[in-house]
């Protein structure tokens, strides 16, 4: 199995895509930073619920933009699978849009525990860690994949936010990001681009932590009898 394009061509496409979509390409990271700052500085649960609709709407916009602009308009030129990926990203956007329209379903905010910290770490990886890692590998800054514009950082940022939430979000929100983790890891293998293994692993780990409910220990169950 091979991808029909090379890593060199992918980054050339990203450079052209970032140039053509400026300033939208930098709007994503700016909004992402604002969201993380809001979550980190703390917010009372009531306010978090009220703001959740806005954050879900931003995530819907990010997933829709990546699905439409990145996958369907650009990547479809290179990869016959891109239309399928685009459809999946648009489906995830629709899910977030649906939840944005139903206040109370999501409660973005910082949990203040290890899970919350892990979530913020993964979100930061998407926002700054992944682009900085590429810069350190010698990638041209004009070709950096950015949150809200390219799939890998957007998927990382999204699962990070979901993991950090005060209350566990619906599991269905993790399904398409997890599928993208498989795509990212497969691309890492086929393009011989090891950094993207880390992307796949981070999304998969966040999904695992975010969806598996801790079971009751036998001792705790006995104590309740």
């Amino acid at each position: 199995m091979e991808l029909p394009y090379s890593a060199e061509v992918y980054f050339a496409l990203l450079a052209e895509y970032n140039r053509a979509s400026f300033p939208a390409a930098v709007l994503g990271p700016a909004l992402g930073l604002a969201v993380l700052a809001w979550i980190w500085t703390g917010s009372p649960p009531g306010r978090a619920r009220r703001a959740a609709g806005g954050i879900a709407a931003l995530l819907a916009a990010a997933w829709a933009w990546v699905g439409w602009a990145h996958q369907l308009r650009y990547m479809a030129e290179l990869d016959f699978l891109a239309p399928s990926y685009g459809a999946a990203w648009l489906a995830q956007a629709a899910l977030f849009a649906l939840l944005a329209a139903r206040p109370g379903t999501l409660a973005f905010g910082f949990r203040g525990d290890l899970r919350g910290l892990a979530g913020l770490t993964v979100a930061l990886l998407g926002l700054v860690g992944y682009p900085l890692a590429l810069l350190s590998l010698g990638q041209d800054w004009r070709a950096l994949p950015l949150v809200g514009a390219a799939p890998n950082p957007t998927a990382l940022f999204t699962v990070g936010l979901l993991l950090a939430m005060r209350e566990r979000p619906p599991r269905i929100l993790f399904v398409i990001p997890l599928a993208w983790a498989v795509v990212a890891a497969t691309s890492a293998y086929l393009l011989r681009f090891p950094l993207d293994y880390a992307v796949g692993a981070a999304i998969a780990a966040a999904t695992l932590i975010g969806t598996v409910r801790p079971g009751r220990t036998p001792a705790a169950s006995d104590a309740r009898r």
């Binding site: 091979e2 991808l3 029909p4 394009y5 090379s6 060199e8 061509v9 050339a12 496409l13 052209e16 650009y74 030129e77 290179l78 990869d79 016959f80």
Partner: protein
Amino acid sequence: MRRKTSGLTRRGLLGAAAGLALAGTVRAAPGRLTGPIPSTGERIPAVGMGTWITFNVGRSEVLRRERLEVLRAFFAAGGGMIDSSPMYGSSEEVVGWCLERLDDTRGLISATKVWTPFGAHGREQLADSQRLWGLRTFDLVQVHNLVNWESHLEMLAEAKRQGRVRYIGVTTSHGSRHAELERVMRQAPIDVVQFTYNILDREAESRLLPLAAERGLGVVVNRPFRQKALFRLFADKPLPPWAHEIDAGNWAQFFLKFVLGHPAVTCTIPATTRPEHMAENMGALQGRLPDADFRRRMADYVAGL
């Protein structure tokens, strides 16, 4: 479309030089190696060019200009077949972009494919390919990976009758679906068949290559370097000192001459993104080819590395 043809033919030389075999090689006189398409007897340059991955560079003008130089080197060295497919992303468009900018493309043997599960879509896809390449007539159109081959071959046969296509065929790659390919080779009215064959992937030797010879089909060999894997495996190993006996000055020519030495092979289509590699590949068009004993020696040497 005009074509350069060589008066020297590979198969003819093989036959004529049979008595001159030296140390297991078959001697060939100087000149460009060609291979036949048996249905017409036309001979085409034995080294062509594939475009999978390498020409799928999208909108990048920088990368397009680099590929333009690859094509320039290809034609300058007497290259013929350029093979592409609608499956290869922007490759067809990039080939067309390059052809438009080259002064001399007289040697071109244009080869593309039909790749869609929907029979009704095949005709439209062929029209798209003509537009992307900037050609009214294709030399060869193949059904890609045997996808819906019954329906597409009917459409292609009609296009051939109308003069829009000169030859038709089917393809597989990676050694897949050989049983079905054999069935098509036996029953369908095709001119050319394309499959994978290289010094490590030799499954085609047992049935496909003999069947192609028996049925009078031209053979286009894809993945002669197994993508880049043969270089990754052997580039740091020494070329055998006896490689000069078949005029192979580097590993690329060694691998290509192994493929071209099989008497049933018409041409092979290595892919590259670099003009200097293209020049190496095209060097295989010159000089001597190995005979069966020499090819066995080549395969044994590589297996022992």
